[in-house]
């Protein structure tokens, strides 16, 4: 049931390819390395600028280690799901992406509810109105810290035709939010489940949405930029 394209299509393709710039060998590895280094540099720079929370040394070691380890693991898993090329070069499988997009935020939610590292000097607010009101600063900080991280993550798969760009972008948004969450946990001296939920975890939702939208938009833009019938094509 196979048909063959016309004989001149091969020649047309080769002529068009000669006029079309291609990515250099090992572009993926280079982009991933630069993105990783950029992420680390940005994270360390913000951490240096903000500083550690003043009650850092009084925090219970086990709870602190659980929090840091879990956030690191979730961040790395989200990046792995978001930046996986897969056997077919179209991104991670749908099952992995759905599992990461739903499972990892559930782990974060469980972490925030179950583990609340606090010392004698840790600040806290009573009542939801005060909690929400004071959490807005952390929301803005988390979002602002995560945005460049998301941007660096989105640069890596540029040019690849992903089969699930929305889910992939959501994973990258989650990864960025998790790294920002980790940083805020190490900086913000306010304790309590309510503050951690609203101030540190909630920004993950808009960031996941933004990541999904950005990657879908990038994919559409890439698809719209066809070379056929345009300046690069000998068909023009």
């Amino acid at each position: 049931m196979s048909e063959r394209p016309s004989a001149d299509l091969r020649a047309r393709l080769l002529a068009a390819a000669a006029l079309t710039p291609a990515t250099r060998p090992r572009t993926w590895a280079r982009r991933a390395l630069l993105s990783g280094l950029g992420t680390l540099a940005w994270w360390l720079a913000v951490m240096f600028a903000l500083g550690l929370r003043f009650d850092w040394q009084e925090l219970p070691t086990v709870a602190l280690a659980e929090t840091i380890f879990t956030l690191l693991a979730v961040g790395l898993l989200a990046i792995a799901a978001g930046l996986k090329r897969g056997r077919a070069m179209v991104g991670a499988t749908s099952e992995s992406l759905v599992l990461a997009t739903w499972g990892l935020p559930t782990i974060l939610l469980f972490l925030v509810v179950a583990v609340d590292p606090r010392g004698p000097a840790t600040l806290s607010f009573s009542g939801w109105p005060a909690t929400v009101w004071h959490a807005r600063v952390c929301d803005l900080f988390t979002f602002a810290i995560a945005l460049p991280l998301l941007g660096m993550g989105l640069l890596v798969p540029r040019g690849l035709t992903l089969s699930r760009p929305g889910w992939t972008g959501a994973c990258l948004g989650l990864a960025a939010a998790t790294w920002a969450h980790l940083l805020m946990r190490m900086h913000c001296p306010v304790g309590g489940i309510g503050h951690a939920l609203v101030g540190h975890l909630l920004p993950a939702l808009p960031l996941m949405g933004l990541g999904a939208w950005a990657l879908i938009a990038l994919n559409r833009r890439q698809n719209a930029a066809k070379t056929i019938g345009q300046k690069h094509s000998p068909l023009a």
Binding site: E3, L9, L13, R85, E95, S163
Partner: protein
């Protein structure tokens, strides 16, 4: 592909030779328009050319090409939607000669067998064209192109379970459509034979 990804420009021709017939056939069945299928085939391989630096050594090229081709086809459909008209069920330029379409068949068929096969293929294509794209693509890639369920899931950006379900639904719908077609043909043949007996 490894040579091509490593920067050897000339290897694009080899990649094209290996993948173009399958990709073109897939696109041809989807859009039923030879010039468009050729344009989309060319664009598919240009995408691979542009993204070759992103290639993971050992990755399967054909599912990648199918994914790009399918995305390009769907974008083309979206772009043409305002001016859309029902697709021509009998493409004007499809080479209906048996030698062009019967590569898979055992050698030495009779002219009647070749004609029947060609008709069946057209009927099947026509029936598949009436199904939703997701169902017909799942069916074509699984049954026509011989991809595994996992590969089709990757191409279509869905789960393996969803691929099986879509292919099953396509199969059921095809059974209905083909049964209707052949019962109509049988009724027509009966009418003709009755008419000839009456005269």
């Amino acid at each position: 592909m490894a040579r091509f990804a490593a920067g050897e420009d000339a290897a694009l021709g080899d990649v094209y030779d290996l993948g173009a017939p399958a990709v073109f056939t897939f696109l041809m069945k989807l859009c039923r328009d030879r010039p468009l299928a050729e344009d989309l085939t060319q664009e598919t391989f240009l995408r691979i050319h542009r993204a070759r630096g992103l290639y993971r050594p050992g990755a399967a090229v054909l599912p990648w090409a199918y994914t790009i081709a399918r995305h390009l086809f769907l974008d083309n459909v979206r772009a043409r939607r305002p001016e859309s008209s029902t697709s021509n069920p009998w493409p004007h330029d499809v080479d209906a000669s048996p030698t062009a379409t019967r590569e898979w068949r055992a050698p030495g068929p009779s002219a009647e067998e070749m004609l029947a096969d060609a008709e069946l293929e057209h009927v099947l294509d026509d029936a598949l064209a009436r199904l939703p794209e997701a169902q017909s693509s799942a069916f074509r890639l699984l049954k026509g192109e011989g991809l595994s369920v996992a590969e089709v899931a990757a191409v279509m950006g869905t789960t393996q379970g969803a691929v099986k379900l879509r292919a099953h639904r396509a199969y059921q719908a095809l059974r209905g459509l083909l049964a209707g077609h052949f019962s109509d043909s049988a009724a027509m043949a009966a009418d003709i034979s009755q008419g000839s007996e009456g005269t």
